[in-house]
């Protein structure tokens, strides 16, 4: 009986230690989130909402993949034969720097999307 109690006490102790040590990392990261969040003006919302609130991003409603030579490819299987030919041709051309907007674009948050007509 005594040995059973000892085993029980040991297991409880081990369980408590397990929780304490392995929660340490979680606690540290939670603390890091909390601390960095304090520096953010929009820490209470989701990460995406904080970005929207920063005023540094533009919301996008759609994106269409672009092939070399500027051909826009409609998604889900609507690429034409000419687009496919363009793709093959472009594959052999040397890579050139692509024009890029200076704006930063993010997805429209759900609440704003619902506000749109």
């Amino acid at each position: 009986m005594k040995s059973v109690v000892l085993v029980g006490v040991f297991c409880l102790g081990f369980a408590a230690w397990s929780c304490a040590t392995s929660n340490q990392a979680t606690h540290h990261s939670a603390q890091a989130v909390k601390e960095s969040g304090a520096a953010s003006a929009h820490a209470s919302g989701s990460a995406a909402h904080a970005l929207v609130g920063s005023g540094q991003v533009t919301s996008a409603v759609s994106a269409v993949p672009m092939a070399a030579s500027g051909v826009s490819l409609t998604t889900v299987g609507k690429g034409s034969k000419s687009a496919a030919a363009t793709l093959e041709k472009a594959a052999s051309a040397p890579a050139q720097e692509l024009p890029l907007t200076k704006e930063s674009v993010i997805t429209v948050p759900p609440d704003q999307a619902l506000d749109q007509p």
Binding site: M1, V4, V7, G8, C11, A15, S18, C19, S22, N23, A25, S29, V33, K34, S36, G37, A39, S40, A41, H42, A43, S44, S46, A47, A48, A50, L51, G53, S54, V57, T58, A60, S62, A63, V64, P65, M66, S72, T75, V76, G77, G79, A84, L87, A90, A91, S92, P94, A95, E97, L98, P99, L100, T101, E103, S104, V105, I106, T107, V108
Partner: protein, 272 residues
């Protein structure tokens, strides 16, 4: 008799607490969309926006139409041995239409994300670089630039019905890339890459080629913890792991492409 049952119960509780801790702390923050979580930013919006634009600029300067992009959703100290990045997706050069109707050239990110409220289910979601990097634990990106030939094939696959058809919504954070039934973001990326390489939508053929040529990452977590984790955490599944647990990672995908895709490049992007 009662004492034996009691000690057995305590022992089970002890082991369970240990395994659940791995499951909870080890898997959270992998393929979850930043817009779906309630986490606050670990970096300021300015830092995230600047870093996301830097990654875009690196890709644009390299003339990349399609790249494979990875982020660090958890600190390195919390990652299992051999795993560096937590989420991998395709970055696709696109014409982006803004809410006010303007058209801008930039990159859209094609992701497989777990659902925040159903972690064993995933969706295909397109977002943008600041969305992708919002909520990361470390500002660092892994970047694979496939050869121009593979980029064009990837573009053809991503814009075809094959892209959606390759998605299996049954999510496991440690999905085995050689089997069917469970999929995570990296297995999906690998499947799309091989669909593009072999110009096929035949998943049986894709899996056969992956078994022959792709070197997966061993999941370096105690098998007993893994087993208990799979019992009590829906996003950890061993149902597609016939032997030792293996999974695809950004690093192993990079090694695969550096070996077989002549002209592919592997980069690491850090903040200024």
């Amino acid at each position: 008799m009662v004492a034996k049952i009691f000690s057995g119960f305590i022992l089970a509780f002890c082991l369970l607490s240990h395994s659940l801790i791995w499951a909870a702390s080890g898997s959270n923050g992998f393929s979850v969309s930043s817009s779906a979580t309630k986490e606050s930013l670990q970096y300021s919006p300015e830092q995230i926006v600047r870093f996301a634009k830097k990654v875009e600029t690196v890709m644009a300067k390299k003339g990349a139409y399609v790249a494979i992009l990875a982020r660090k959703g958890r600190p390195a100290s919390e990652m299992p041995q051999g795993m560096v990045y937590t989420h991998t997706a395709f970055a696709v050069y696109s014409t982006i239409t803004t809410k006010d109707g303007r058209q801008l050239p930039g990159y859209a990110i094609y992701n497989l994300y777990q659902r925040a409220d159903q972690p064993d289910v995933s969706d295909l979601v397109t977002d943008f670089p600041p969305d992708f990097f919002a909520g990361v634990a470390e500002l660092e990106a892994g970047l694979i630039l496939p050869s121009p030939k593979l980029q064009q094939r990837l573009l053809a696959t991503i814009t075809s019905p094959t892209y959606g058809a390759l998605h299996d919504s049954h999510y496991s954070v440690i999905a085995n890339p050689f089997t069917l039934g469970r999929q995570n973001c990296t297995e999906f990326v690998l499947d799309v890459i091989n669909a593009a390489i072999y110009q096929t939508d035949d998943i049986t053929r894709i899996k056969m080629n992956e078994r022959d040529y792709f070197q997966a990452q061993q999941v370096n977590v105690n098998p007993f913890k893994l087993l208990l984790g799979s019992w009590f955490t829906s996003e950890v599944s061993l149902s597609d792991q016939p032997g030792d647990a293996v999974t695809a990672t950004f690093t192993t995908i990079g090694e695969y492409l550096l070996k077989y895709d002549k002209g592919a490049e592997l980069l690491r992007v850090l903040p200024d």
